[in-house]
């Protein structure tokens, strides 16, 4: 977690924390079996209320992505990454494909041109803009 974290004010904070954590599990920054920082550590680092941090972590615990090992801490469950990627696949169409098609439509970019762009464009590593 090196880069500065910026929160938007639209969604509840704990949701954003849960999303950030799952993002890190998804791209491998947080490996399976690795220890996740405690809610207090999160809170201090992100400068947020510890209860909010705990709530965000608990979202992932409830989803079965994190498990608590008594006395040691929170750990990423085996298979968590797969689980997240699966879910994101499901959301891929709505979050990325549909907006792209809508924008293409607005700009008058036809199907042929669109496929051409897909073939020749490099993927960027920038995070997606949340709609």
């Amino acid at each position: 977690m090196e880069e500065d974290v910026v929160f938007d004010e639209g969604t509840p904070l704990f949701v954003q924390i849960a999303e950030q954590l799952s993002g890190q599990i998804a791209d491998g920054t947080l490996a399976e079996g690795e220890r996740v920082p405690s809610s207090n550590e999160f809170a201090a680092f992100l400068r947020i209320n510890p209860a909010t941090a705990a709530k965000g972590i608990n979202v992932l615990v409830d989803d079965g992505l994190l498990e608590k090992r008594r006395g040691i801490g929170m750990f990423v469950v085996r298979g968590a990454r797969q689980q997240i990627l699966q879910r994101r696949r499901g959301q891929f169409t709505e979050q990325f494909v549909a907006p792209m098609l809508a924008e293409a439509g607005r700009l008058g970019i036809g199907r042929e041109e669109l496929f051409d762009l897909i073939d020749h464009t490099q993927p960027t590593t920038q995070g997606a803009q949340r709609p």
Binding site: D8, G10, P12, L13, A43, R47, A51, P131
Partner: protein, 293 residues
Amino acid sequence: MTPVIRTERLTRQYRGQRALDDVTVEFQRDTITGLLGRNGAGKSTLMKVITGQEFPSSGSVTVFGQNPLENDGVLRRMAFVKESQQYPDIKVRHAIEAASWFFPNWDADLAEQLLDEFALPRKRRIKKLSRGMHSAVGIVIGLAARAEITLFDEPYLGLDAVSRQNFYDRLLADYAEHPRTILLSTHLIDEVANLLEHVVVIDQGRIKIDAPADDLRGTAVTVVGPSRSVDSFVDGHEVWHRGGIGSLATVTIAGPIANGQRATARDLGLDLEPVSLQQLVVHAAGTEQAGAR
């Protein structure tokens, strides 16, 4: 969730002015609650009544289930840090030492650390300190007291942004290690937005908002885009604010916005910007919301 402070139809009238008007509110144990509002809204008065320093004109207040007025047992479990706190003509270290006698949970090591962090000269008389340092003394006492209920009433008068952030960080860190009930009143809302678990907004002595901070996020949204598209989108929504330049319109409306509507906005080429807690509070303070709970 056990409420540790409760007020019931609390009213404080003074020379015909109602500093507090029929205030019924609860503050939960081991929570950081923000007490927000404009200057003169009633934040300080509420805190003074809770700490037994002001007398209710009518209604009641209970702390730990008891009336705090002249109640040594309850008062000793609270620390109240005000802006512009008056001290006798004593040195910084005397004030810290005196505080250590009265607060049962006092942490002397923490006090020492904080004195160093805020660079407070221990041997200087408090009345000779700059305004920022004067405030820092109160903050040191408030944090090191580790009182079960700690109230901060705009405690950072004169502190620069770096020192303020230092205070928030310290507050959070200590709160994480030693959870307690904290009431923080401020008009610098966006600075503390992420610290708060619960938000209470007061305006003209009345409670306007009393809700968990998470619930408030997304209660309003600002729609930005070409005026015609914006107008068609916001039609049917409660409009809070209209603005714009040329053909560009900026309209703030009450939310929340469903996902389907987000898609619509996208198709119309509109941007949906979140509304900050500060803006929410300003709006709440301006409207005549009777009995908003």
